[in-house]
C-alpha cells in the first residue's frame, strides 16, 4: 500500500502557500455563504422573517460568493497539481487572489450598502431597472467587482496557457492530441495538464464573453441610450456563467485524478484514447451546450436549442463513462485507505455523476417547459456542486493538512463525513421534490404547499453546515503548519 501522505517535492513552499491561501479563502467564504443559504431556506420555510429586499440581496450574495469560491477552490487545486509539471507564475497566482479579494469588497459594498439585488446573473437590463430597490452606484460596484474577479481568472488562465505551450509546444499537445489522433506512445501529458488545457480554452472564451457583457451593462447603467439586444445579452451571460461554473468542476476533478491513485496504490494514466477523447469532447461540448439555459427563449434559433438538448445528453457521457467509472474502477477491490480525504473524493465523483441526471432531464425541452426555473434547477446544480465540486475541494483540503501538517482523522471527522453526505442528499432532494411540485426558485415567499420542503431543507442545511464547519476547523487548525512545512528533498 502506497503512502497517500507523501509530500510533493515538485512544488516549493511559496507555491504551496499560495494554494493554501486560495483554499483557506474559499473555505472561509464557503461557510459564510452556506449560512446565507440557510437563512434563505429558513425564510422561505417561514421560520425566519427576512424582508424581500434583504432576501434578494442575500440571494445575490450567496450566488455570487459560491460561484466565486468554487472558481477559487478549483483554481487552487489546478494550480497545485499543474505547477508540478509546468512553470506557472507565482506573481500571477497572487495577483488573481488580490483581484478576487478586491472584487469581493466591491461586490459586498454594492449589495450591502448600495442595495444591489439583481442576482449573480445580472440579467440585462435588470441592473438598470432597480425600481427603487438599489442605487446605480450599487449596481456599478457589483458589476465592477465582478469584472475584477473575471480579469484575475483571465490572467490566471493566460498564464496556464503560456506555461503549457512553453512545456508541451501547443494546446493540442496539452490535450494529448498526438496520442489521441495518432499513435499512442503512452506519453500523453498527465491528467492535470490535459484538464488545465481544456479549462483554459473554455474559460478564456467564457470570461471574455462575460467581461464584455459586464462592461456593456456598466455603460448602460450610466448611459441608458446605449442599449444591448436582450437576447444577445442573455446568450453572452449564460455562455459565460455556464462555462465558468462548469470549469470549476473540471479544475477540481484534477484532485481526484491525482490523489485517488495514492490511496488505492493503482495508477490512473491519462495516456489512453478514452480519457483523452473524453476531455477533447468535453472541451467542445462545454462551449456549445449553453443554450440549454435559454430553452424557454422561443426567439432563439431552433437548431441552437435542439443542440442544447442533444449536447446536454452527450456531455454526460464523459462524466459517467470515463471519470465516474474510472474512479470506481480505481477503487473497486483496491483495499483503498479510507480517510476523510479519500471518502470525500470518492463521494465527489458520485455527486457529479448522479447530479447530472436531473440536469440532463431538465435539458429536455418538453420537460424544461414545465420545470424551468422551478427549484428543480437549484436541485440539480446543488447536487453536482455541493456533493461534487465542493466535496472535491474539501477532500483536497483535508489531504493537504494531513500531508503537510500531520493531521489525523478522529471519530468526529468520520461522523462529519456521513452527516455531510446524507445531509447534502436530503438538502438537494428537497429542492428536487419542490421542483417536481412546481416550487419556483428565487422566490422570497412560497405558497403553503411548498413550505414543508423549505423547512426540511433548512434542517438538512444545518447538518451540512455543521459538517462543513468540522472540516474547516480541522483545516484551519493545520493551516499554519501546512504553510511552513519543509519541502521534501
Amino acid at each position: 500500500m502506497s503512502n497517500p501522505y507523501q509530500p510533493d517535492s515538485a512544488i516549493g513552499r511559496p507555491e504551496r502557500q499560495v494554494v493554501l491561501a486560495y483554499m483557506a479563502t474559499a473555505g472561509a467564504v464557503l461557510v459564510l455563504m452556506m449560512l446565507l443559504g440557510l437563512i434563505m431556506r429558513l425564510s422561505q420555510g417561514e421560520l425566519l422573517g427576512v424582508p424581500p429586499q434583504w432576501f434578494y440581496r442575500i440571494l445575490t450574495l450567496h450566488g455570487t460568493g459560491m460561484v466565486g469560491i468554487a472558481g477559487l477552490a478549483g483554481a487552487g487545486i489546478m494550480w497545485y497539481f499543474l505547477r508540478q509539471y509546468v512553470e506557472l507564475s507565482l506573481g500571477v497566482a497572487w495577483a488573481n487572489l488580490g483581484l478576487f479579494l478586491t472584487g469581493v469588497v466591491l461586490i459586498i459594498l454594492g449589495i450591502a450598502v448600495g442595495g444591489y439585488a439583481g442576482a449573480w446573473t445580472f440579467l440585462y437590463p435588470l441592473p438598470a431597472h432597480p425600481m427603487g430597490m438599489w442605487s446605480t452606484w450599487g449596481a456599478a460596484s457589483f458589476l465592477f467587482g465582478l469584472l475584477l474577479v473575471g480579469v484575475g481568472f483571465l490572467l490566471l488562465h493566460l498564464d496556464t496557457a503560456r506555461a503549457i505551450i512553453g512545456r508541451y509546444g501547443s494546446l493540442g499537445k496539452g490535450l494529448g492530441w498526438p496520442q489521441l489522433f495518432g499513435h499512442n506512445d503512452g506519453n500523453a501529458p498527465p491528467p492535470a495538464v490535459v484538464a488545465s488545457t481544456m479549462v483554459l480554452i473554455v474559460n478564456i472564451l467564457g470570461l471574455v464573453s462575460g467581461a464584455a457583457i459586464v462592461v456593456m451593462s456598466l455603460v448602460n447603467l450610466y448611459f441608458p441610450a446605449f442599449e444591448v439586444d436582450a437576447l444577445l445579452a442573455k446568450n453572452m451571460i449564460y455562455f459565460f456563467g455556464h462555462v465558468f461554473i462548469n470549469a470549476t468542476i473540471y479544475m477540481a476533478i484534477i484532485a481526484v485524478y491525482h490523489l485517488l491513485p495514492r490511496y488505492t496504490g493503482r495508477p490512473w494514466p491519462s495516456s489512453n484514447k478514452a480519457f483523452l477523447g473524453a476531455w477533447t469532447a468535453s472541451t467542445l461540448m462545454v462551449i456549445i451546450v449553453y443554450p440549454h439555459h435559454i430553452l424557454m427563449d422561443f426567439a432563439m434559433p431552433e437548431w441552437m436549442n435542439v443542440m442544447g438538448q442533444i449536447i446536454s445528453y452527450t456531455s454526460g457521457l464523459p462524466v459517467l463513462v470515463v471519470t465516474a467509472y474510472g474512479a470506481i474502477t480505481n477503487v473497486h477491490r483496491s483495499e483503498i485507505r479510507w480517510d476523510l480525504a479519500s471518502a470525500l473524493l470518492v463521494l465527489s465523483t458520485f455527486g457529479w455523476a448522479a447530479g447530472i441526471i436531473p440536469a440532463m432531464v431538465d435539458a429536455t425541452i418538453v420537460v424544461n417547459q414545465v420545470m424551468h426555473n422551478t427549484t428543480w434547477v437549484p436541485g440539480h446544480f446543488h447536487f453536482y456542486l455541493l456533493l461534487g465540486m465542493i466535496a472535491m475541494a474539501l477532500g483536497f483540503m483535508s489531504w493537504l493538512v494531513k500531508t503537510y501538517a500531520g493531521n489525523t482523522d478522529t471519530a468526529t471527522d468520520r461522523v462529519a463525513f456521513w452527516v455531510y453526505a446524507l445531509g447534502g442528499l436530503g438538502f438537494v432532494g428537497m429542492f428536487l421534490m419542490g421542483g417536481r411540485d412546481g416550487e419556483p426558485r428565487r422566490y422570497a415567499q412560497h405558497l403553503a404547499e411548498w413550505v414543508p420542503y423549505d423547512q426540511a431543507a433548512s434542517a438538512f442545511a444545518v447538518l451540512v453546515i455543521a459538517a462543513t464547519a468540522v472540516f474547516m476547523w480541522r483545516f484551519f487548525a493545520g493551516l499554519r503548519r501546512a504553510a511552513t512545512a519543509p519541502v521534501p528533498a
Partner: protein, 190 residues
C-alpha cells in the same frame, strides 16, 4: 405529466449510480489484483455505454418531435383559435383577456416592457402547464390548450426584482360548452 416522469427517471438514474457506489464501497476492502479488476470493468463498459447512447437517442427522437417554438417563428401549421397579448412589467402582467374557454388552442404572444420575466401558467394543483420568457424587444409565442376549466395562475419565473414573487395574474378557463353554447348543460371537463 412531465414533472412526474422527470422525477421518476432521475430517481432511477441516481438510485442506480448510488447502488453501484455502495457496492464498490462495500467490496473495497476485499482486494483483487488491479489488472483483473480493470479487465472485467472495461469489458462491460462498452455495453452500458451503448445502452446509454441508445437511451439518449430514443429520448431525443421521442421528445424533439413536439417542440414549442414553431409559432414564434411563424411556422405553426395549425392557426390558433384565440390570441392573447401579454406584456410583463415590473411587477404585473398586462393581458388582453383573462377569460378563456377550455378546449381552444390559445396563442399567448408574450413580451416585456422592461426587464426579462418568465410567463408561466400554473394550474390549480400548482403545476406549470406551459411557459416562455418575456423579453424586451422580442415576442415569444407560447401555445396551450386548456383542458380543464377553473382558475389558473400566471407566475413570473424569471427573477425581476423586489416583487418578483408577487407578480401573478389569474386566468379563468370557462367550460368549453359555455363559449360554444352558453346554455348547454353537458359535462364540461375533458
Amino acid at each position: 405529466m412531465y414533472q412526474k416522469a422527470a422525477w421518476q427517471v432521475s430517481l432511477i438514474g441516481i438510485g442506480l449510480i448510488a447502488a453501484v457506489y455502495v457496492l464498490v464501497y462495500l467490496s473495497s476492502g476485499n482486494p483483487e489484483e488491479f489488472g483483473t479488476v480493470k479487465k472485467r470493468m472495461y469489458a462491460i463498459r462498452p455495453y452500458w455505454f451503448l445502452a446509454l447512447v441508445t437511451l439518449g437517442t430514443w429520448m431525443s427522437i421521442d421528445t424533439l418531435a413536439d417542440l414549442p417554438y414553431a409559432a414564434t417563428h411563424g411556422k405553426a401549421e395549425q392557426p390558433a383559435d384565440i390570441t392573447v397579448g401579454v406584456t410583463g412589467h415590473q411587477w404585473y402582467w398586462d393581458m388582453d383577456r383573462t377569460e378563456i374557454p377550455a378546449g381552444k388552442l390559445v396563442a399567448f404572444r408574450v413580451t416585456s416592457a422592461d426587464v426579462n420575466h418568465g410567463f408561466a401558467i400554473y394550474n390549480a394543483d400548482h403545476q406549470v402547464v406551459a411557459q416562455t420568457q418575456a423579453m424586451p424587444g422580442y415576442t415569444n409565442v407560447v401555445r396551450h390548450t386548456f383542458r380543464r376549466p377553473g382558475t389558473y395562475t400566471v407566475r413570473c419565473l424569471e427573477y425581476c426584482g423586489l416583487a418578483h414573487h408577487n407578480m401573478t395574474k389569474k386566468i379563468t378557463v370557462t367550460p368549453a360548452e359555455t363559449a360554444a353554447a352558453p346554455h348547454s348543460h353537458a359535462p364540461s371537463a375533458t
